[in-house]
């Protein structure tokens, strides 16, 4: 039996008002307050300036400026739109390289498709095709990988820009099968709800419940809400020696 060891850090404390007061408070001395636009916009950018900039753009460029996968930079006092594939070129090129290597090794063809198309997206900045490939990853695949720019919560200025995250999971088929009974019983429960028949959902689609062992949660994935449900792991560090990283 091969075992993957995971070093996880579980939170001891519960949600408290005091903890909430710590929101975005620096714990290192002499660090400025966190800019609302995070690292997606120039720190000194004002809303007026950005809106003026948007007005000066063609409809196509405006769409890019407000898009998920670009950052706004200032060069010589003028604002410009820079695509993720250019701004983070060296990191994304290396990441794409590792994704292609992983794709050549994985057993499941649909996961292979996702990894290859996501690697291409890192370089082309076009993410839609690989998002579709992610939806089509088979439930039979022993690995589950979610990687790319997804959530826009870090852009508190406009909510346009997507932060990168990566989640690497090993599926636990036995535990998934055990939970299947809950999935199956959902329509049984619906039929017996103490409400009038017309309020019952007759076309109930059972959600897919998959149990996984999380071995990596990176980037914005540190904030994932699935952390506690999966028994890990926003703050975990993989014991990389175990797999020779």
């Amino acid at each position: 039996m091969i075992c993957i060891k995971v070093h996880i850090v579980l939170p001891r404390s519960v949600r408290t008002d005091e903890a909430r007061n710590e929101d975005n408070k620096p714990f290192i001395k002499d660090v400025p307050p966190h800019p609302k636009g995070a690292g997606f916009y120039p720190t000194d950018l004002t809303k007026d300036e950005f809106e003026q900039f948007l007005k000066s753009l063609s409809p196509k460029d405006k769409e890019q400026a407000e898009g998920y996968y670009t950052v706004i930079r200032r060069h010589n006092k003028t604002l410009s739109i820079v695509r993720y594939s250019t701004e983070y070129e060296s990191l994304l090129t290396s990441a794409a390289h590792h994704f292609e290597k992983a794709a050549s090794l994985v057993s499941d063809a649909t996961l292979k498709d996702f990894l290859v198309s996501r690697a291409a997206a890192f370089l082309s900045n076009e993410y839609i095709d690989s998002d579709v490939a992610w939806y089509n990853v088979s439930s039979e695949s022993p690995l589950e990988v979610t990687a790319g720019p997804y959530e826009v919560y870090d852009d508190e200025l406009y909510g346009y820009k997507a932060g990168f995250e990566i989640l690497i999971h090993v599926r636990d088929f036995n535990a998934t099968e055990q939970l299947q009974k809950f999935t199956n019983s959902l329509s049984w429960i619906e039929e017996r709800l103490p409400v009038d028949e017309k309020y019952r959902n007759t076309e109930l689609k059972a959600p897919v419940i998959v149990v996984v062992n999380q071995i990596w949660a990176g980037g914005m994935g540190r904030n994932t809400n699935t952390r506690l449900l999966q028994g890990s792991c926003a703050d975990c560090s993989f014991r990389t020696n175990d797999v020779g990283v």
Binding site: H98, L105, I166
Partner: protein
């Protein structure tokens, strides 16, 4: 022996007093030692004081060379240690060197207390059903994960990469661990509210 101990205690008391007098205005995190005692022993009852105010003209330490390890006190010839928490006094003999160092962290909790909120466990998972190829793919995926982690650091705050380098230079592993956990110097809502 007794002379040394007396000297040490006197020196610590005097220097912390001087530090308070000299930095009361400049150092927004300063609070009298007495009011801090309960705060650290019972972090849950901590009252939050105003956060350090920064002005646009301030030069932040990460902008200068080696400035994180040496905080300079204007108008003083020697750097004066600041006793910021009772935790510094709990382990006095080995702690003396720690007190002598100027700390780079701030806030109601020390990095050690922040880390202590997250006890570590080791879990294993049965991966006997996973084909060999998939196991071999995991290290490549993790390498990509580390690169995306680095990418995210600069997405979250533009000063992150430079600040991380500075922390690595100071060799403070606890601060570095908290930094990596938070992905920056900011305690974000999701991490902090758990």
């Amino acid at each position: 022996m007794s002379f040394k101990v007396t000297f040490c205690v006197l020196w610590l008391l005097l220097s912390s007093l001087f530090a308070s007098a000299a930095n009361r205005d400049r150092h927004p995190t300063f609070r009298p030692l007495a009011s801090r005692t309960t705060k650290v022993l019972h972090p849950s009852s901590a009252k939050h004081t105003s956060t350090p105010k920064s002005t646009s003209t301030t030069k932040y330490p990460y902008e200068g060379k080696d400035s994180l390890s040496k905080v300079r006190w204007p108008g003083r010839r020697f750097p004066v240690p600041i006793i910021d928490s009772i935790a510094d006094l709990h382990f006095l003999p080995p702690g003396i060197t720690r007190i002598l160092k100027n700390k780079m962290y701030t806030g109601d909790l020390t990095p050690q207390q922040r880390l202590a909120q997250f006890p570590a466990y080791s879990l294993t998972a049965n991966t006997s059903h996973v084909p060999k190829g998939d196991i071999e793919a995991i290290p490549h995926l993790i390498r990509a994960g580390k690169l995306l982690d680095e990418l995210y650091l600069s997405q979250w705050w533009e000063g992150n990469i430079k600040l991380r380098e500075q922390i690595v230079k100071t060799g403070d592993k606890d601060v570095l661990e908290v930094f990596d956990m938070y992905k920056g110097p900011y305690c974000t809502s999701t991490v902090c509210s758990y």
